[in-house]
Amino acid sequence: MSGAEKIDVTVTEITPVNELVTRFKFERTDGGLLPTFSGGAHTVVEMKDGKTTRLNPYSLMSDPMDQSAYTISVRRDDEGRGGSLFMHQRVTVGDQMVISYPVNLFSLDLRAKKHLFLAGGIGITPFLSQIKQCERLGGSWELHYACRNEALGSYVDELTSKHPYEANVYYDDQDQTIELENLLNGQPIGTHVYVCGPKGMIDWVRSTAETLGWPSEAVHYEEFLAPQPGKPFEVKLAVSNKVIQVGEDESLLEAMERSGVDAPYLCRGGACGQCETRVIDYAGNFIHRDHWLEEEEHASGDKIMPCVSRFEGKTLVLDR
């Protein structure tokens, strides 16, 4: 079975945080301890919705050393494929669910002398566990957190009351913006910057850092992409000797799984590289959406990341 090892859990608390965000608490169904993890890790939550099984990654926001429970925060996305709506509308306290072991694609670089966290909206969640880790290890950190408005500022009160000197909050509706250039330019040698938020914010931070001369090794980012719907297409899987149809609302990876093919995966969000698949033959156009492959690899037509990328055309043959 592909993916990280699974854990059976029970939902023990559901707490609305604000109009869009709800927090879920999971404890092991067998009463045992959960594994510790490292700040920035995520878990993949299985959602059984009738015939459809969705596997969505969510950042763990609880204390990495707390083995009694994991918590995640889910932002409702009314436009998405329904994973967040399922969590918000269908999951109730006492439900049994399956989650994966923690996987970390956004860990702290512990060689850093200082950690600079930049969060946008729900992108705050990985930092909540990283901050707890920093507090435990005595690491120096600073947070700059941009939210739409006070009502949607998830965990702002908790952060600013516990960490009045480290946590800085900016509200869009009050025209407050992170003074990024000054902020990055003034950081002492040995600082690493971490950004999690909308794609525009990640691009802004990465390009500003590059222009200022920051080494790319000290710039970390996490953006989970949800698979986007698209036109249905047909794929031939050469190793499994199957021809499968990828539906409008499912990803190529999900279509392979539905057809009984055990394809590798980890993050399901175009970030980790596990599902990288070799293309044997194609006639048509790739719709690459991952940020794992390099631009040249996207252009080459040799590889595809089936968790988020799609295809439009006559023939696609994969080495799977």
């Binding site: 060689r111 850093a112 002398k113 990055l184 330019n185 003034g186 950081q187 002492p188 040698i189 040995g190 600082t191 590059e210 222009t211 200022l212 001369g213 920051w214 080494p215 790319s216 090794e217 000290a218």
Partner: protein, 198 residues
């Protein structure tokens, strides 16, 4: 010609690059002797205006040409040891928007790189270019003493007097190659010394 083509070697051996101008708010340039030529090649007027050049002349006369670049700050000193405290101080105050350029001998680049990585700069973000002498900074693995500017193999440890074989095994932490006793099992049976790359 101050450039040297190093023969292929084991993975531990450092691979030096070619300096290129990079975006940055500050440029820290450290070179010794013929390394100045690499700085002169890379330092555009825009770079020089934001550059702090630290130059170990070692009897060369590149100082005037480097000064003529009009760097924001210029320092010239007789040895790395003499410049070390200045380099540490500069790194203490440096910001993440600083690009580092190292050029010259392996001993200079290795020691300056160690100072930079100790300060928290990822080693892969530091640019280097070898110029000039191919002499090595060697650590005796037996007494741990460092012998600078070793040009021959084998050589005699300047601390404990053992006959040492020059290895390509490099330590980033020590900024030195490893020298291992060549006649431990048959004392006195030491091959004639020759140039390291002969």
């Amino acid at each position: 010609m101050s450039k040297f083509e190093f023969p292929p070697s084991i993975k531990s051996r450092p691979v030096w690059g070619t300096l290129e101008p990079r975006a940055g708010m500050h440029h820290l340039m450290i070179a010794d002797a013929e390394g100045a030529e690499a700085l002169l090649d890379v330092a555009t007027p825009e770079l020089a205006a934001r550059a702090h050049i630290i130059f170990i002349a070692k009897g060369t006369t590149f100082g005037d040409a480097l000064r003529a670049l009009n760097p924001a700050q210029y320092y010239e000193g007789p040895s790395y040891a003499a410049a070390a405290s200045r380099i540490e101080r500069v790194l203490q105050d440096a910001k993440m928007s600083t690009q580092v350029y190292l050029a010259g001998t392996e001993g200079l680049m290795g020691q300056a790189m160690r100072a930079c990585t100790d300060a928290g700069i990822p080693h892969t973000a530091i640019q280097t270019e070898h110029r000039g002498s191919t002499a090595r900074r060697m650590q005796c693995v037996h007494c741990k003493g460092i012998t600078e500017e070793v040009e021959i193999d084998p050589f005699v440890c300047s601390h404990c007097g053992l006959n040492l074989f020059v290895r390509d095994h490099y330590s980033r932490r020590l900024a030195a190659y490893q020298g291992v006793c060549i006649d431990a099992e048959d004392p006195g049976n030491v091959p004639d010394s020759k140039g390291i790359y002969e």
